[in-house]
Amino acid sequence: MNLTTAIRERVRRWMPLEDLLPDRLPAFVRSPAYFFGVLTLSSLVMLIITGLLLSAFGPQWWHDSGVGRFVNGIHFWCAQTFFFALTLHLWTEFFKGAWRHGRRWTWVTGALLFVGGIGTAFTGYLSQTNFDAQWIAASAKDALNGVLVGAFFNVMNFGQMYGFHVVILPLFLGLLVAVHLVQVRIRGVVRPYALDVPTERAREAHWSGKLVLPSDQVRYYAGLRLMPYDLIREGLIALAFVAVVGIVLAGTLSSPDDPPLTIQQYAQEKPGDFVTTATAEISGTSILAQYGPPYNTGTGSVQYLGPVSLQQLGGVTHPIDTGQTYVLEPLTIAAQSDPALATALQTFAAASADQQTKWEDAYATALGTATTDKGQLTVPAGDYGPYGTLMNRLLGMATSGALDGILLRSKGFYQNDFTKPLLFLAEGALPDKAKAANLLGSQWGMMNETHNYPGQSWLWLYTLWYQLPPFSTTAAANADALIWLLMAVLTLLLVIFPFIPFLNRLPYHLGVHRLIWREYYRDARGAPGKEALPVAPPSAPPLVPLSAVEQTQERLG
């Protein structure tokens, strides 16, 4: 068998150009509800174009250059139009029952596109390398850690998130878009619900089976008026519309881009808070030191689904010993050129654990009465042993920016994993700044954007649950795991909705389709003075009379 011939003939039979690029559509297509698919696709094209530019020139360009910021703004607003159109497309297709007559898998690929789009946008927000990205990462890490995902999908690793955003997820989306478009064109747009239930059921039974190609659209639309339609022109107009919207919004409203928070900035502005956090890290009393997987074996932030903890199943995949990572290792590096610090480190290391704890506790207590003047921290004298020297030097390293660099270092030359500095900042500095920007608590930062820009409003259904009891009250400790499990179930139901008996008839009973296709129902019931038209009566085998097929084929020439 010649595979090339076989595939070519199969493609020719299943995907004839007349179906892929039709110049006629059924005349019941009169509602703007049919525009949202092409608007979604146009937004995706704009996202790809601007995304390629942003990737080509890199983060410094989109932060520092006027042109780069403008292109970044278009990318930001086109992400908004993408989800705006995609959500409307999903709603309108739902009310049309667009999975009927053999289109269930078209719905599935569309729903997967929605889910994949959320993931792509989420990783895009994490890749901004600004304060918003930091806060979203800090907010989202607990949710992802709580359901095991954080064990291998690290939202604080810019390199990983950027790779997902510009390569892995776009490839996945591109493949899904291609399959979805081919599915839509092979079957065509779905017919309106039949006038009566028995006819609709008979039609569903007939058309949900295997297609009889190559003339199925002709048979499927038999009895319906077709009208000239220019899909390519519609696509170009939609693309121009989205481009204008993106350019105008980027030009007039710009896009949010608050600079990221650094440990240097934190230490300079709040030296007392910095040293307090560092002391909590070395004494093992910080949130992170007691967090649990994927950072350590603690249990402080471990979440459970009943008796099961998915978080613990993943194990410690990003190990962080807070005392070593944030205090002792950086000081050891600095001690190479600082004999006094080297002596202090040796004294601290030689002391017993109890003695170390006494020094740390005494110093932590003294911090309560410490004073700050022009960025200088003055701690009252006390019995801190070498600990005062250690903290003094660490603060100096932080204010100089050296600690930022040390926490980013890895075996490679290029650094792109911000897990360590971000986790340190997440102890207090990021929440403080987020609080000042009004991004805290029940507003849940992952959905919000800095200032008054729209954020990821498409996550509203996900974030809504955090505000509802019991997730906000008695189940708050395990809210991430519970809500993400709930949303996983609801998302799965959305994807497989066409396959759920009885529930998949919901759009028919809701009746919105009668508005979308009101001209069709008017015509099908018969205009005044005419008798009701025999549109695919249930007794006409197989729903479409052969004469109607012949008539349509004759008209098509």
Binding site: S31, F35, F36, L224, E449, N452, S457, W460, I516
Partner: protein, 66 residues
């Protein structure tokens, strides 16, 4: 756009004004899309009328290539 985020609160539900505006606009556009019609000429009927009816229907566009 430069100020701190503003929020709308009803009971325990809290949402930023910007996000609420987007969701409100979604609902509005959806309603308009359902109620309005694509501008331009459309065939008089959405269905193919049987020849017997067409013959007596002055509104039927006989020149329609379809």
């Amino acid at each position: 756009m430069g100020d701190s985020a503003q929020y709308f609160q009803v009971g325990f539900l809290v949402i930023s004004i910007a996000n609420l505006s987007v969701i409100g606009l979604l609902v509005l556009v959806f309603a308009l899309a359902v109620l309005l019609r694509i501008p331009g000429k459309h065939p008089v009927s959405t269905i193919d009328l049987p020849e017997a009816l067409v013959a007596g229907d002055p509104t039927y566009n006989r020149k329609d290539p379809l």
